[in-house]
Symmetry: C2
Amino acid sequence: MRKPSRLTCLELIPLHPTKPKVLGAFLSPVYKQIPNININFEMAEQSLPRAENVLPLTEPPKEGGSEGEKGPSKGALKKAAKEKEKAEKAALRKAAEDAQKKEAEANDVSKNDYGELTLFGTTISSIPGPNDVPWIELETLPETFDSVEHAEGEPHVVFTASVQNARSQSASLAFLVLQHGFETVQGVVAKSETLSKQMVKFAGTTPSQSIVRVHAQVKTPKEPVKSCTIQHLEMHIKKIFIVSKAIPQLPMQVEDAERPLPLEGQEAQTEEGGRPNVGLDTRLNNQVIHLRADQSRAVFHIKDGVEILFTEFLRSKGFVGVKTPKLLGAPSEGGANVFEVTYFATKAFLAQSPQLYKQMLIVANFQKVMEVGPVFRAENSNTARHLTEFTGLDMEMEFKHHYHEVVSLLEELMLYIFSGLRTRYAKETAVVRESYHVEEFKLPEAGKVPRLEFAEGIAMLRAEGVEISDFDDLTTPQEKQLGALVLKKYGSDFYVLDKFPLAIRPFYTMPTNYNPEDPNSGYSNSYDFFMRGQEIMSGAQRIHQAEFLEKRMREHVTPVDPESKGLKDYVNAFRYGCREHAGGGIGLERIVMLWLGLPNIRLASAFPRDPGRLAP
Amino acid sequence: MRKPSRLTCLELIPLHPTKPKVLGAFLSPVYKQIPNININFEMAEQSLPRAENVLPLTEPPKEGGSEGEKGPSKGALKKAAKEKEKAEKAALRKAAEDAQKKEAEANDVSKNDYGELTLFGTTISSIPGPNDVPWIELETLPETFDSVEHAEGEPHVVFTASVQNARSQSASLAFLVLQHGFETVQGVVAKSETLSKQMVKFAGTTPSQSIVRVHAQVKTPKEPVKSCTIQHLEMHIKKIFIVSKAIPQLPMQVEDAERPLPLEGQEAQTEEGGRPNVGLDTRLNNQVIHLRADQSRAVFHIKDGVEILFTEFLRSKGFVGVKTPKLLGAPSEGGANVFEVTYFATKAFLAQSPQLYKQMLIVANFQKVMEVGPVFRAENSNTARHLTEFTGLDMEMEFKHHYHEVVSLLEELMLYIFSGLRTRYAKETAVVRESYHVEEFKLPEAGKVPRLEFAEGIAMLRAEGVEISDFDDLTTPQEKQLGALVLKKYGSDFYVLDKFPLAIRPFYTMPTNYNPEDPNSGYSNSYDFFMRGQEIMSGAQRIHQAEFLEKRMREHVTPVDPESKGLKDYVNAFRYGCREHAGGGIGLERIVMLWLGLPNIRLASAFPRDPGRLAP
């Protein structure tokens, strides 16, 4: 469980605030049958696991022997007598127990106030009327009650929450930590004239992670409840029903998910008082539990935030969101690393990017397009930064004078995302930082994103003694080293590398200074964006004329056939007139990983896919 | 071309308005070499297709004979002499033509003011300085110039546009219709002392759909230009360069794409003055041209609008956007209609919906989730309303008291979308309506969405003489008939059908009134939403307890195995405690099709996929 602090997610999740019309309200029937729900009450009663409904586990003594036709032996008779005696004793014991239970039940003043709800039709109330006890959400509780004078008495509420843990302090007192969203509150179940010991026991033994529906009085504790995020209020429970009972032994604990991922090969090592340091595979195999950790979920709020900021900024610049197909008739980008699909009697291929289609939409006069969608890469890379399915944030646009218009817009976009994350997701970031301590992402001074030419980057590396040719692609360690050099020189974890060598970019890349005598030489109008020395975006000005595009396809280092099934329509599109354009594709999970300093990209995917993982 | 009207898309596309700092500015060098662009000017000159650079198509006369060792015959000699004479004549003619061309070229006062740009590096200007001619976008022109006093002289501008059509009125006058986005303006090229006949000819013969970069003076025409959307201004062209030349014979005309799709089997029939009424396949085969029609593109602005409104509304209610995997380790929803993928050494399957994953995120305490993403259905349905890949708008949420909370929220969501489309996309809708005349979508009175129980729907159909059993699913014609009855009775094209028979819904559906003796009888807490009598959404309360879920999987009409690879993780999730929840999945293309009354869902997909189509 996260160290409690008053972190609410309300900025992000504006739940309908419950009107504080609760003062003076008293327990009125909230569980009632209304015509359009049709709960089978009889069945509901039957499946309540009260004592009288629990079937005896001992079987009734068998009638007669089954030892064949000859009479039983002396030993067998003796054995039978013994068994009979045993069975009689058991029956007596059971009868006594039953009688005791029945008496306990009869004496249980709380018998209608607790229990397990049936496996179906547990939703048995109508929307509460003005005189009903209000149903609230725990997450909006602080706001609701902070603003209410408690003068008229203790307010009653009903809410559903998950049980973080339950413990019996004594036979007459139990405590629960109840959770919803990023909030926890203490629940108190105390024996009284109207609340039985049995109910205290029931509440105190609720399995962790079970979902309960609770009717409670909201009171101010004598001292702040340090173990919860809501510290100035506690819930004095009057009724408690289990909506969904968790199994007693979970495959992993939420508390374990809250600690940072161990380094590779360190799974199952213990730390912090003997708790196992749960490794990535165990976490991902039990992802629904792993995601229950505030740290895990906060990552996905931030991830959603990146998408919100991406679309918000681009829409403000006139972009329109589009959907390009993920099923293609032929591999389009060279044919490598593409997944094949059985498509009725033929084959299809999963799109490795929206590249060709977003360009075709530019041809179709869409002017400025963006897409957020899955991209699929059949790369057998088992690294901490590769996934076979990830989310692409893609954009493509016409420009007026120069592709640097697009580079500038993309820089502005990234700064917008970074500053939006800082201001809108500070709380979620702080939650993640509790597990993953990483240095604050350093942003360049306003509008001064370092934009280096590739040749300049090579020169910086050489000055540090790195041996590298002018037109070689950078290796991952070289990229990281260059990132460190840029950080040192410009004070920014974010920078742009422009004008990559033509030969190491795709066929559709516009050359900067084309030489037909040596067509794969020189530089190109292409760029990569980096965060903390790792690539998050790749983009370029694209060739917008069919003849030149065909030529480039044929003469490229990895040639492709412009007449092929997967490329013909794309090449033809440029025969109908096309404006100069450029764009880029950002890896959403990469931004999240690098912004938060997560050790593995799988932590930025709700259900990650890699060459070895397709489940859950 | 669309009937001209002042339809700008500016509300949707707030392009950076160009500052009207253009008065008094004069032609200053905009094409200049700046250090970080490195245009190879020499090469650019060479590839300009001016007369002097065009290679002669006639081959030089061959030297010597090749008829073997014996001397040539008399006839051969005669033939050779004739050929020599012919060649000499041709050479003379060519020399004369060349001389003429050279003279014309020498006399061409405009020779630097027009031509085709090279196949690469056409982007040769820097961002204009304060004294440069401003580069504008045609789409923002009206706003820019409406607000400017023209007193100081005619403003000069540079812009890029596509040529809708070009015609030579005479040897000294040509007109062009220039387009960008939803705007068109007239361009005038008139011979003068500083503008040659050659340039007039060049401009007047620009192939339609080519992209041109134009330097022009903005003038007020004597009469409004009725053939353009911008009627109060015209462009007096001073320079014109082709950025990208369209082939002379396009596979289909944009004008043809602007007319409505013919009914099935009517392709190639002519109407309206002999133009072919182009059928769906021709359109989709040439989709980049088909999409150039304002009518086609407007559909996708509206489609994007539905997504904007969907996410906007749900975020305001506290939903978080999530990404569920599209690659699954096993078919999860029964195994039918699923595409198989070769996944390294094993198999994967494409997700038919985010159903199981969005529920698992509810288990993981995400509370309210939504997703916009592709869904894949391997259904061999070749109808006007089925696609094999479409966009799902999915949501899933916990609820407090009753699944009708979720139904109400979904109704509110749809009303928000409808009213948002009305107010924000009125112009785009009007553009589509020019081709597809359909009755205005009738909305229910505020907050009064007709919500019928399934049994009520059956009763309404029976009252009309339809023979149907209580628990039969509705056929498509029956759905349409019921839609018409609801419209008649409630005045709404939008309604909800609630409480479907349990037996016809998926295994995860919560029964309303469960009978273990006859487990597939009775109704369920499930609902469909309809527009114009066609289903756009399906949803339900889901079973939130593992034991009951397993039971339902086994006893379902189409049983599935809860222990199977694709379902085990899903079922196990519910053993860790789960709140009551419900949700739904909306087909984005269905909403667009039915809102606009499009005759085929393929018109609502930029690159539609069906059993027979995987390209472009």
